[in-house]
Amino acid sequence: MKAVYFAWVRERIGKTEEILLPPAEVATVADLIAWLKQKGEGYDAAFENGSTIRAAIDHTHVKHDAAIAGAREIAFFPPMTGG
C-alpha cells in the first residue's frame, strides 16, 4: 500500500510518499495511524492529534474507522484550506 502525505503532515514526516507494509492486525485507518506513530519522532509529531488528521483511500475521503483492506493508496493530511 502506498501512503501519501500533504501539507504539515508531509513536512513533519519528512517525505511525500512511501510504501507501507503494516502487519495483518492493522485493519482500520485508526489502527494504521497508531502503527505509524511508533515509526519515529516525525510520525509521532504528525499524528499527535491523530483524530484531527484527515484520511483518503484511493482518492476518496474516509473516516478513521474505515477498513484499509484492498487500499492501493492511502493519504493523510490536515483539514483542507482550499477555495
Binding site: H59, A75, P79, T81, G83
Partner: protein
C-alpha cells in the same frame, strides 16, 4: 436542464470572463449566471504570497463529486470550477466558480454550495509566505467553513 460541467486544477491564471462566456455562448434558455472569484488577500500587507499545495488526482475527482452533487440538486444549465495551485500573489485569483441556470436562486445557491464544499472537502492547503521573510504558517481550517458546508446537509 442538463448542462456541461468543466473542472480544472491548474497552476496558470484563469480568465473568468472567458469561462463565463463559454458557458452561455449560443444559449438563450439561461436567465442567470453567477460567478465567484476567490482572490489572494495580502492580510494587511503582511503577506508576500500564498503557496497552494494540492493532491493531484484526488483534487479533480473530489471537485467532480461536489459538482455532480450540485447538478443533482439544482437545475443547472452549466457549471465551471477551476482551482489553482502553486505560488499566488496578493490580488491574484485562486478559485473560480461559474453556475448558469434558468432562474437566479438556483444559480446563487449552487455557486454558494460549491464554494462551501471547495473550502471543506477539496484537497488543497494554503501556506503563507510573509513579507518579512519568515516562513509563514499553514493556514488553519475555520470552524465557520465547516458550519457553512453543514447547512447544505439534507435533514
Amino acid at each position: 436542464m442538463s448542462g456541461a460541467a468543466t473542472v480544472r486544477v491548474q497552476a496558470e491564471p484563469f480568465d473568468a470572463a472567458a469561462e463565463s462566456a463559454a458557458l452561455t455562448q449560443g444559449r438563450s434558455d439561461l436567465g442567470a449566471v453567477v460567478t465567484f472569484t476567490g482572490l489572494c488577500r495580502d492580510e494587511g500587507g503582511m503577506l508576500e504570497a500564498l503557496e497552494i499545495e494540492h493532491y493531484p488526482g484526488m483534487a479533480e475527482e473530489e471537485i467532480g463529486r461536489v459538482v455532480a452533487a450540485a447538478q443533482a440538486r439544482w437545475p443547472l444549465g452549466g457549471v465551471t470550477l477551476i482551482h489553482r495551485y502553486g505560488r499566488i500573489a496578493p490580488g491574484a485569483p485562486i478559485v473560480l466558480v461559474v453556475t448558469a441556470s434558468r432562474h437566479r436562486v438556483a444559480a446563487f445557491e449552487a455557486a454558494s454550495f460549491l464554494m462551501d464544499y471547495m473550502k471543506t472537502s477539496a484537497p488543497f492547503w494554503k501556506k503563507e509566505h510573509r513579507r518579512d521573510g519568515t516562513s509563514g504558517d499553514w493556514v488553519e481550517a475555520k470552524a465557520s467553513d465547516d458550519a457553512a458546508a453543514d447547512r447544505w446537509a439534507r435533514p
